[in-house]
Symmetry: C3
Subunit: 351 residues, 3 copies
Amino acid sequence: MSVKCYTTAELAGLLDASLAGSAELQVSGIATLAHAQSDQLSFFHNAKYMDQLDTTNAGVILVKPEHVDHVSGVALIVADPYLAYAKASALFANISIERTPHQISSSAVVAVTAQVGTRVQLSENVVVGEHVVIADDVVIGANTVIGDNCIIGSGARIAANVVLYSKVSLGEHCVVHSGAVLGADGFGFANDRGRWVKIHQLGGVVIGNNVEIGAGTTIDRGALDDTVISDGVILDNQIQIAHNVFIGENTAIAGCTAVAGSTRIGSNCTIAGGCGITGHLVIADGTHITAMSLVSKSLKKAGVYSSGTVVEPHQQWKRNVVRFRQLDDVTRRLKKLESIVKQQNTEGQSE
Amino acid sequence: MSVKCYTTAELAGLLDASLAGSAELQVSGIATLAHAQSDQLSFFHNAKYMDQLDTTNAGVILVKPEHVDHVSGVALIVADPYLAYAKASALFANISIERTPHQISSSAVVAVTAQVGTRVQLSENVVVGEHVVIADDVVIGANTVIGDNCIIGSGARIAANVVLYSKVSLGEHCVVHSGAVLGADGFGFANDRGRWVKIHQLGGVVIGNNVEIGAGTTIDRGALDDTVISDGVILDNQIQIAHNVFIGENTAIAGCTAVAGSTRIGSNCTIAGGCGITGHLVIADGTHITAMSLVSKSLKKAGVYSSGTVVEPHQQWKRNVVRFRQLDDVTRRLKKLESIVKQQNTEGQSE
Amino acid sequence: MSVKCYTTAELAGLLDASLAGSAELQVSGIATLAHAQSDQLSFFHNAKYMDQLDTTNAGVILVKPEHVDHVSGVALIVADPYLAYAKASALFANISIERTPHQISSSAVVAVTAQVGTRVQLSENVVVGEHVVIADDVVIGANTVIGDNCIIGSGARIAANVVLYSKVSLGEHCVVHSGAVLGADGFGFANDRGRWVKIHQLGGVVIGNNVEIGAGTTIDRGALDDTVISDGVILDNQIQIAHNVFIGENTAIAGCTAVAGSTRIGSNCTIAGGCGITGHLVIADGTHITAMSLVSKSLKKAGVYSSGTVVEPHQQWKRNVVRFRQLDDVTRRLKKLESIVKQQNTEGQSE
């Protein structure tokens, strides 16, 4: 791992920032305000950490114009320090795949009918099936298997131990993390007098450009039509996307959320972790769903939605949870009591 | 991928259907009513899509007798069009495993003490341990590892990057998808003054015939006795089955559900996605559990069960969820009020 | 699998037990009270199974002093039979990894800059990256990939198809199960007018000694600082640990729980399965959380916490869940009614 260095002037140019302070300082990394050293870049974007801004050892700090006075070292002034930090992280990134690239390993097996672009790196034991098309600048990690008839767009980075079943298409500049499985059979069965008869899953998976897919995430192939993940979607770890789901552009889904078959999620949604979205629903563009929510009906209007209850001490919870099962009864009793009391009031007034 | 073709007469024979229309039409695939072309088969099983039935371009349609008049092309008349579709999907299926079969790859490693049947296909880098018995017609995908002393029944299809630990037995005609792990250690530890002492997991995993196991699903080995999955069970993706669980015949479990240790689930149950079933419970045959339910007590009577709450707008939810924590108090106050009002009524009447 | 045998006298010595009965009996395995044979060891630690204690065929039983009279065969008397059973399980364990160890396989690929200790076993197709340091007595299963700059402590047992990305450090005597992914990118993105910009994840993962990591569990690398799992932590299957999480010593987490970014969990906690813990929280030492709880605020005081509701018949649940959405309204109406009734009472008394 060689260390990349930039002068403050170079960083200002690369990050579209105004420079306040020395243009010549050498910067060799990024760190949090709490841990940054004098040769490191940090960023301030949350008022809660104002104390840290005042005491940090960071040599250079990305700040909004209004906080520049708090910076004792060099300030790089930007409208959105968090976004600038994201861009800076790319400058200091080493390989984002797990290992040093190795061109095409001698142990990789590539079918003779496959087409492989230039500057493609295939690590040890990678297996590439028949009629696969791999564009330029693709990196594939060790022990990953690419099924027949897959298409991998340029610049894709696929980590170790990933599986693409046949007929999976991946756009440009996608990232797929280890343990992800794209194109396994959707969960489709018909019941024949108690016995399950498999519905063979004949569709594929179509993934757009700039999609990131987390470790252990599974995206099933469609039953007849394809499962579709649009451009710019970001999926965290251990997400389950069932057959024939459609996810619109730039939607973000956090870890361990599951989306059941044929549900259509709009663009620019954010879905927190641990949610369950049942099948055949439509979720509007711009919908936001909080952690561990159960969505069992369509959400046709953008907004923020939640379900579930929040932790409380166990003994207290035990008493409340019993009452939940009486809630309809409680509500009816209240209504009845309201009408009795209203009646009493009327009688009282008429006396 | 060569295209398989059938005449309508052949399909009628294969699907046990009555034919209404041309016996000679060549059918080259299956599609939904919305997308089918004139050389494709479709099916109608949901009254909601009657419009599509009337306007589809499908050349052939699987229908119930009562809907044959709506079919402008060829009708294949069956009692259960969805089941007939399932059977038809097998006719048009290409390989359900991720890659073209390759017999036994030169990079597969098979222990000398292992027995391998006829027509077995082992893809690249498959590793087969000591004393493994693999029956006829088994297909194993690339980079899959079969531990010592495993038994794989005839016709099993195991996808790429699957792991079977030692002493896992798989019945006939099972399907195991990528990323599945069968036979990892159950989560058993004794606490020794704060420190966890591992309980070595000495049991195995026994899986029946015609079982399907989804991508990323994990089934742990038993602590002393075996973990058992009965014939005909279907498990979706990312399911967690803990040590010593028993699942009865033909039970279906959807994605991301977890079953804790030693729980016994009956036959012909359906358990939706995202459920949690705690340990040492008994779930009756024919039990149905809806999505994201928490089951923390045995369900001794067949039926449909649910828990949790359903999404609502976040601001409204915030107010309700606070009240949940007051629910026992609210119920007690209601009861008290009821008795006061009753007392008033009695007094009012006695005046 | 050769069978290990111990005499009752040997077992008494190894398990620190007092022996009541023959010192010469040969014991060849462990089993439950229900299934044990006359040459097997069993244990009694749950009063619920007293019947089984009285009727078991087990030749030797681990019991507390007060239950020795119920043992017809040989008794091994200990203070904590369950803990003694855990220790005994190690005596009878075969390989806990999935296959017979093979030293360094000829198909393993080890970078020339890597350092590998003595008695290290690397199975088929293991890939070890640049500058990796593997201590003595480490066992790594087939098709596992160890990224650049990883450190693996002595005695670690890593199963098949595991991935360690670069810069992951694993302490001594850890166990990592198949499908686990350590060090994939944390889920960090900044939003640039609707489009997600990746925040490259530059931190690592630091795992202490004696940590067990279950099948399919994912632990992401830190954004800038490291993700930290302390000594003695045990993690079940399919757990998701996000970037920059800290987990204190000896904390146990059950399957399918997810912990979001930067949350700090104390020592000696137990967190049941299917829980969701949101980001940037602090959970006190000695906190216990029951199954499927949503933790969305810090828990600063040790205790037992819960959330959610428990299954009930579906028709009943449907009525109650509708009322949940009226709960704030119901509570307000109750309060109003209380004040009306109180007013009536006052008026009644003042008449």
